[in-house]
């Protein structure tokens, strides 16, 4: 477990949330969500109630990973955009800054062109936020100021309690 752990703070989380809300409105999408490359859901916007977002996140990451594997076999670094078209719903998946995956699910109220355009704009904003997160966690780590860390005083008992 190296320094590649993703740590999300309140401030950046609301910035991400804001950006996803904006994208959701601008694209007229059904759902927009953000997943890390390992399949963990980071944030979402839209009609998520009827969707199993945890499974969707994991499968999306699997999809991106498999596509990345194909890319490397072909000598490409990565395929950054995937698009699946369904009878009613479509899904637009894009890789952002090599580390997070932005997913937009939309139907005929929107269009692929609109989604692509808006996703591109949002990607730039999201890349910036994630760069900030990285520098922030590095800074926090170096000054050793994890007052709030939930792990600092974790005991064996705490862990055992999880399994009762």
């Amino acid at each position: 477990m190296s320094g590649s752990d993703l740590i999300m703070y309140e401030e950046e989380f609301s910035r991400i949330d804001e950006e996803l809300q904006r994208l959701y409105v601008q694209t007229n999408a059904k759902v927009v969500f953000l997943v890390d490359k390992n399949g963990q859901l980071i944030a979402s916007a839209g009609e998520t109630r009827d969707i199993d977002t945890t499974s969707l996140a994991s499968l999306t990451a699997g999809n991106i990973a498999a596509t990345g594997g194909i890319a490397r076999l072909l000598g490409e670094k990565e395929f950054t955009i995937l698009f699946h078209e369904g009878e009613n719903d479509n899904i637009h998946i894009s890789l952002i800054g090599q580390r997070v995956i932005l997913v937009v699910i939309f139907d005929k109220r929107s269009s692929l062109g609109l989604v692509r355009l808006r996703v591109k704009k949002s990607s730039e904003a999201l890349v910036k936020i994630f760069n900030d997160i990285t520098s922030k966690s590095e800074k926090e780590k170096s000054v050793d100021s994890f007052d709030e860390s939930p792990f600092a005083e974790i005991s064996d008992e705490d862990i055992d309690n999880l399994f009762r």
């Binding site: 477990m1 590649s4 499974s55 699997g62 594997g69 792990f151 600092a152 862990i159 999880l162």
Partner: protein, 195 residues
């Protein structure tokens, strides 16, 4: 790579079940799924072939409870065990926080165990991990079968570092939760070291 979210107060960790084909990785997850409260688990997703062999992975999200006000979630994955799915297997290991190696106790599968363990080490190294430094638990599965190797022999072959190991009969359950609990504990202790 765990994901710690201070905003929603969640900790997410990824555990991968590894091992040779037909050793019982998926069966482990199925048992965990069967025995967990509905409010603690998500859907068990299996990307499998028509003959129920794992094609890409199985996935089971588990919400265990709270530690210091943080919801602790474990994402359990299995890899496809069959040798020719090597490329897919590698992908699943991305961002892993802890590994369970499920060994098949049948004597005739010992070579497959060794091969799979080598494969694990190599694939982890490709992702920049060292098996010797990761939270790691071994399960000697299928202890109910007649033609099994003694645990001491298996330990000598598969567990030179003497990591925690458990006897398992994944179909009926013995050892399944012991294994999961042990790896979860190691992962959390590792997190504690870093933060």
């Amino acid at each position: 790579m765990s994901f710690i979210n201070y905003s929603s107060r969640e900790i997410n960790c990824k555990i991968v079940y590894y091992g040779p084909g037909l050793c019982g990785k998926t069966t482990n997850l199925q048992y965990v799924y069967k025995k967990t409260n509905p409010d603690q688990k998500g859907k068990l997703i299996s990307l499998a072939t028509e003959t129920e062999r794992t094609l890409f992975f199985d996935f089971l999200p588990l919400a265990l409870g709270d530690i210091k006000g943080f919801k602790v979630r474990f994402h359990l994955y299995t890899v496809p065990g069959q040798v020719f799915y090597a490329a897919s297997r590698k992908l699943i290991l991305k961002g892993v926080d802890g590994v369970v190696f499920v060994a098949d106790s049948q004597i005739e599968r010992m070579e497959a165990n060794i091969e799979s363990l080598d494969d694990l080490r190599i694939n982890l190294a490709e992702q920049g991990y060292d098996l010797d430094k990761l939270p790691y638990t071994i399960q000697y599965n299928k202890r109910d079968l007649p033609n099994i190797a003694p645990v001491e022999n298996m330990n000598r072959l598969l567990n030179p570092r003497n990591v925690p190991y458990f006897d398992g009969i994944a179909v009926t359950g013995p050892g399944v939760f012991e294994t999961l609990k042990n790896i979860a504990k190691q992962v959390l202790i590792e997190l504690k070291k870093h933060y």
